[in-house]
Amino acid sequence: MAARGPQTAQRRDRTDRRAELLLGALAAAVLLLIAFMIAFVFAKAWPSFAHNGLAWFGAGGNLDEQLSAIFNSPSDPSDYVYTLHAWPLIYATALITGISVVLGTILSMLAAMFIVDFAPGWMRATLQPVVRLLAAVPSVIYGLIGILVIVPFFGNQVISAERKESVQYVIQLDGSSILVGVLVLTVMITPIMVAISVDALRSVPATWTEGAAALGVNRWRALRTVGLRAARPAIVAAAILATARALGEAIMLSMVTGSVAFAPNPLDGVTFFFEPARTLAAQIVDGSEGLSVKPFGETMYAFAALLLVSSAFLSFGGWLARRSMRKYTLAPR
């Protein structure tokens, strides 16, 4: 069958090369569009960074007041106000995203192991549409349930009056807080990780876990040590996607985290979790009504630019992690 002559081999090479070029061109075209978007955001964001320098990332002053001042800039371009210290937003984004991803990863790995091996057949069959449904619930609905049910519950039932009084000159604890934000965000990003992790666990060759069984290991431990380790690159990929989703989540967080540009203080103990905050993405959505005011719009773009850079770092980190993990799988590369 193989001995069909050099012409066939050449033809095969040519179709192969053509396919490669075509697919490569597709990928390059999409990359071009994305690069164009990144360039657009940075170009618009530049004045805000240029006027503030490194102090842009620091703390100082009340961010809400600074934003008001920027929005109310006089009309002369040389008088535009750009002063901004965005630390509360950066800190809140890192905090809420970080905690949600950690919680979500733990929850999704447990759920994935459950679905793959321990769930009864009927439960496994319902869990698949359940996970996909949770991934498709609009963020508006998560936000609605958050402010209609969860925030009042915390504000009226859980947070005591004394706690509210203790910080009343600095901040108000009305229930909308980083805690509610983290809870709902975790529920939003877990389905992504569960879906991808389940596929990955299922594709671990059975011979590997059978080997573990032959050594007398129980089901749970076999799955945990062998299955998870083999699926690690996929789990990391899923976690990257989930973190990116968490970074970009705007509407829901704007509704339930209280939307105050405040950096919650961990030294406050339990009160820390009830303190409100605002993330970068939520700030962009809250400020989207004022984009036509030039300095204000440029400040919003600056927030977007920071999110893009964070995603870039995230992507790089994920690539590094996966590269070292590939040797545990049978993957081609």
Partner: protein, 270 residues
């Protein structure tokens, strides 16, 4: 591949089903409006009445997207009219004419469990400025505990009006929770017995409106001018309005039918 076929069928079905209710295109002048989500309900009602009154002389297209999108759209000629719920800013594009179409009363609201009998300018500035933080220090309040203040984002027209009319030069409390829409403030104040905030009159359902300087925040008081806290709603055109848009704006500001529509939840200029 076997899965391409069902995929194509589904796609064709979905697109086909959506085409089943495509209305016929019309050859009348079209007025396109885009912009503020708070002006949109008013614009939709006015448009409906206008079409009924003039016997279908124009067709309307009403989009949303926010005051900002409306202003940039009309400045570049994409739409005939931009709806804006904020006052013109010096940084807006040039050549725009802000046509006032209605007033909108801004009410101070508290939860129904805390029916504050009245508040004056000093009181508003103390509470929203953050110097008074506990309900027990507010005369007439039946609540005790920390005051939870809810305000709008800096880019909002309602916030602009509130700052100018009620607060003057007092700075807003740094810990106040910023909400992105009237509805969100309404919801937050409804759910929290210790809350106070401000909303447009049409959003005061289910809340207690606090009389300001002795005048209750009602439709009638706003119309007579007694209630001081009002903001403007605009339809923005590029240069003075011409043609169908001019007739439409004239109808809104001069006809009795339009005034009746506006006075349902807003305040007519007439």
């Amino acid at each position: 591949m076997t899965w391409k076929r069902p995929l194509a069928v589904v796609a064709a079905f979905a697109v086909g089903a959506s085409l089943a209710v495509v209305p016929a295109a019309a050859a009348k002048p079209t007025i396109t409006m885009s912009g503020s989500t708070s002006v949109a309900p008013l614009a939709a009602l006015l448009a409906k009445k206008y079409i009924a009154d003039c016997g279908g002389c124009v067709t309307f297209k009403l989009l949303q997207g926010g005051s900002d999108v409306g202003i940039s759209d009309v400045a570049s000629g994409r739409v005939t009219i931009g709806n804006a719920s904020r006052d013109p800013k010096p940084t807006d594009p040039g050549g725009l004419v802000f046509n006032k179409i209605a007033h909108d009363a801004v009410c101070i609201v508290t939860n129904k469990a805390n029916p504050l009998p009245g508040i004056d300018e000093a009181g508003v500035q103390a509470i929203f400025g953050g110097s008074v933080r506990s309900w027990s220090s507010v005369p007439g309040s039946s609540a005790s505990g920390t005051i939870d203040t809810f305000v709008r984002t800096p880019a909002s027209g309602t916030q602009d009006a509130f700052q100018k009319i009620f607060l003057g030069s007092t700075r807003l409390f740094s810990g106040a929770s910023q909400k992105a829409s009237n509805g969100l403030i309404q919801q937050s104040v409804k759910a929290d017995p210790n809350a106070i905030g401000y909303v447009s009159l049409s959003f005061a359902d289910g809340l207690h409106t606090v009389p300001y300087k002795g005048v209750a925040c009602t439709e009638r008081n706003a119309k007579s001018g007694q209630y001081g806290g009002q903001r403007n709603l605009y339809m923005v055109t590029r240069g003075p309005a011409t043609g169908a848009a001019k007739a439409w704006l004239k109808w809104i500001t001069k006809s009795a039918a339009a005034a009746a529509v506006v006075n349902t939840e807003w305040v007519s200029l007439q």
